[in-house]
């Protein structure tokens, strides 16, 4: 017996999720620029032990790549009402939460502004996680 998805007449894409993804694009651009500039500032004012500056920069670029992939899958999944991309983006969100925690707690030098923008980013990820779970549950409810 093949499970077939029922085509629903109602719109199942989650508008709050779409809004959070859309604003996440802009907030992340701001976050990336701010963190990069702060790392450059720290490299001038403070002295980094061997190799830690490279670790910080590489993790930042890795976070950027993860974020782009995650947001692309999130947009695509929410707009085409498919669960697989949304779940992929949820899994990638966990990776980004870890990286954001790194920049919040375990970075070489943590400034107050670092703490604030990372906290805001974590709030955004938390909202996305909750809304994505609600959206996926709305989408999978119609399997016959």
């Amino acid at each position: 017996m093949v499970l077939r998805k029922v085509k629903s007449a109602a719109v199942l894409s989650s508008i709050p999720l779409q809004m959070v993804f859309y604003f996440n694009v802009f907030y992340y651009s701001f976050y990336f620029l701010a963190t990069l500039l702060m790392i450059i500032y720290k490299s001038q004012v403070f002295s980094f032990p061997d190799g830690y500056l490279a670790v910080d920069l590489i993790l930042l670029i890795f976070m950027l790549i993860l974020e782009v992939i995650r947001l692309y899958f999130g947009f695509k999944g929410n707009l085409t009402e498919e669960e697989v991309p949304i779940v992929t983006s949820l899994v990638l969100t966990i990776g980004n939460v870890m990286l954001s925690l790194y920049y919040l707690l375990w970075q070489t030098y943590v400034l107050k502004a670092d703490v604030i923008i990372n906290a805001l980013l974590l709030v955004t990820y938390g909202l996305e996680g909750i809304l994505a779970i609600i959206a996926v549950s709305a989408l999978t409810r119609l399997y016959t």
Partner: protein, 140 residues
């Protein structure tokens, strides 16, 4: 339905920048309190000034909450006038508060920044919310 212009992301970003700086000032307000006291001060005077700055910053955060509620609930998201006013005031607030923080301005200047750049958008937001929820106008 109007297409998403670049007013909405700009408004979001200036709001976020202003919010980040306000939280930063909240955290490191010692320098600004010391700048508004005479060279010899009593502990009571310090407490008074500190409380004044805490009150100002808390009211600013309250105004922020009003404006963010109005923005994200859609009441004023597509209203170009409110977006422009918001972008202008919050951008100038961000720059001025940067100076406030780095140049260690006294606390009295904060009330000016608050009046023009936090209270004004929030008041217009409240008027718009009354218009949409109370008078049942369309939120555009």
């Amino acid at each position: 339905m109007p297409i998403p212009s670049s007013l909405i992301p700009s408004r979001f970003l200036t709001l976020m920048a202003h919010l980040v700086i306000v939280i930063d000032i909240f955290w490191s307000r010692e320098n600004n309190v010391l700048a508004s006291l005479p060279p010899t001060y009593t502990s009571l005077q310090y407490q008074n000034r500190d409380t004044e700055l805490i009150v100002a910053l808390s009211v600013t955060l309250g105004m922020f909450l009003i404006e963010l509620l109005g923005f994200f609930s859609g009441v004023s998201m597509f209203n170009s006038t409110q977006s422009l006013i918001s972008i202008g005031t919050h951008a100038s607030a961000s720059v001025t508060l940067l100076f406030f923080l780095f140049e260690q301005w006294p606390c009295s200047t904060y009330w000016w920044i608050f009046a023009f750049c936090s209270a004004l958008p929030a008041c217009i937001e409240i008027i718009l919310m009354i218009g949409v929820f109370g008078l049942k106008k369309k939120p555009l």
